[in-house]
């Protein structure tokens, strides 16, 4: 058995194609990004080596740290919202009438492109005739805020569509995981007198833990790298109030033509993502892998 399952040739055959692909498409640019980060380059002429200057500037760059803070906020909100998604998935996976249809409907926003979602939410947040403000005005609110123009509100206003965009993704993952729990366990617990909440907490949750841990990492890192709706809806404004690291990096590269510095930011973002992943794995580590038998 062992010999069959450790056949080196087979392993190589199965793993190498994908590994090679990743190495070329992801790791090589990664190294190049690190290299560019050590240069001053406007993307047009030749790069000029300046050592760690970009990183020194990064440390002093208030705009960057603001954007980093915003990214972190998003990561926190994103991770917290996982609880909600898990709960929804549990409901959908249970024997509720029409769960099937609900599941399909809930996942629909996930299919829309960022452009569509951005357009939709711009219409929701429009200061005068947007859906939200029109609704608030009919409720009697006198001067509803301009959600995307108010520096103190804009970031949180953007979090809503961002989280909404990915809700379907996480619900789907949790749903698939929950569906893999053998119904025998649930039946047995019910016969023992457990109610729905106890079943959820004591049985379903532990069995989906592996998946939950994975989604925590995904949510956190995905938030740190997030770009789309921020850039499309506000461009990071007003004046950086909704800037995140990825949009800051993008503007540095493609608008300010400061590609060396942008690469430094990108590389830093990468290291940050690795660090966060490591921390999360540490915090959620457990040795037992659950067996069914």
């Amino acid at each position: 058995m062992d010999k069959v399952m450790s056949n080196k040739k087979v392993i190589a055959l199965y793993v190498l194609p994908a590994l090679l692909l990743i190495a070329v498409i992801i790791y090589v640019p990664l190294v190049l990004t690190a290299y560019y980060g050590l240069n001053a380059w406007n993307g047009i002429g030749s790069p000029r080596f300046i050592g760690l200057s970009n990183y020194r500037e990064l440390i002093r760059d208030g705009l960057f740290w603001d954007s980093a803070w915003h990214s972190f906020l998003l990561a926190i909100f994103s991770t917290l919202s996982l609880i909600l998604y898990l709960a929804v998935a549990m409901v959908l996976a249970s024997r509720i009438k029409g769960a099937n249809t609900f599941r399909k409907i809930y996942l629909i926003p996930m299919l829309l492109s960022s452009v569509a979602i951005a357009q939709l939410w711009l219409k929701v947040y429009h200061p005068t005739n947007g859906i939200l403000n029109s609704f608030l005005e009919t409720l009697g609110v006198k001067n509803p805020p301009s959600w995307l123009a108010d520096s103190s509100l804009v970031l949180y206003a953007l979090f809503v569509p961002i989280l909404w965009q990915y809700a379907g993704f996480y619900i789907l993952i949790y749903y698939a995981a929950l569906k893999n729990i053998p119904t025998t366990l649930e039946e047995a617990a019910k016969i023992d007198g457990a109610n729905a909440l106890q079943i959820a907490w004591r049985i379903k949750l532990p069995l989906t833990m592996e998946v939950v841990k994975v989604t925590i990492v995904l949510a956190a890192v995905g938030s740190l790298k997030y770009f789309d709706l921020i850039y499309i809806m506000t461009g990071g404004g007003p004046n950086g109030a909704s800037e995140v690291m990825a949009s800051y990096m993008y503007r540095l590269a493609f608008r300010s033509y400061d590609f060396g510095y942008a690469s430094a930011v990108g590389f830093f973002l990468l290291i940050l993502s690795l660090a966060v992943t490591w921390i999360i794995r540490r915090l959620t580590a457990s040795d037992d892998k659950i067996q069914y038998s």
């Binding site: 993307g43 711009l122 200061p127 005068t128 004046n239």
Partner: protein, 440 residues
Amino acid sequence: MPVMKKISMLLTISILLALTACGQAKNEGGDKGTGGGEGGDTKKVTITFMHLWPEGVSAGQNRIVNQIIQEYQNDNPNVTIKQDVLDNEQYKNKLKVLSSSNQLPDVGVTWAAGFLVPYVEGNLFTPLDDLLSEGLGDSFVAGTTDAYAIDGKTYALPLEFNIAPIYYNRAIFEQYNLDVPETYEEFKQVVSTLASNGVAPIALGNRDRWTGSLWYMYLADRIAGQEALASAIKGEGSFADEALLRAATEVQNLVDMNAFVRGFNGLSNEEAKSEFLNGNAAMYLMGSWDLPNFTTNEDIPQEFRDSVGFFKFPTVEGGRGNINSWVGGPGVGLFVSEKSPVKEEAKKFVRYFVERWGEQSVTGAGVIPATKVDTASLDLPKLYEDLFNEMNNATSITLFADVQMEAQAAETHLNQIQALFGKSVTPQQFAETHDKVLQR
């Protein structure tokens, strides 16, 4: 083992596919503009032309471009022109990526001044002064080619020319018994009357930031004068100059007066423009490129179009600017890549294009070209004629600040504009941040 065979077959096929695909792509790359191979008298030449007028939304320009290309190809049968069409934003990105690996198209579109600098420094655009000889140079409106010149050499030929008036809705003005303001005091009166009557005085979409910059520039021009502004932008003068500080303060005064539509700092220019088009806002400071919307665009109700007029930005009492000083300048221009293998042919094409474009752009796309237009021979809507008159009487035209400045400074300027309008910086801070980045 059958499965092994399947896998190895798949792999071989994919590798073969990849190789042939690569080979094909390389061949196509080889054809591009080497102008070699075919026998005969004239060499076959392919010119790659990248522009930002997609058929979907710049129908007029797109039509003109295709027509010109057709004509050129007919007149020069050995030449094929290959188009690459992108929209504005993506065009800028693509250009950047292409330039970083020396893959610029033979002919492309560029913006003036600050945008041009890195490309010129990187030796990516070829000088086009020889095209300006034989009369072409004179056919340009004075000063338009200067914005595309660095160190005495011209690196692109402009295709557009714009100035920015304040458009206003005559119906609304009549409704509140308002006259066209000629001084800034009168202007503020208009603003407060409208605001107190619940009508948004000015449509402004400052999410795009350059729109707010127009307001600042005019205030700066009228208060501090064109030279002070120009020298501050160049980094020679200072934005903390008393008159320029006053201009920044005036911006914030206008904000306090509720002169701009609600939530302007988060609205896009499109959204703001629609407030004006829907009659929700009375005034709109914008470039002459928007004229088609107020004249020929059938999608906009005729009633509205008939009630649009424009006036010049009012003068400020005690200020050094005069009413015939405008913000505006050349729009996009055509460049020829320095590394182009078909440089001479490309240059010939550019010259041809600029001439033909100038003949048709107004009537065909509502775009004012940078070459002089004989308005008498054309049947133009009144707004166009009035605007052309103003252009001829202009005493000075200052190019948009974010176009004048280099990329990094331009970004800082635009962000500061948003901050100024959003009142998250003081005029003093506004000035200091500018000086810091411009005087580097």
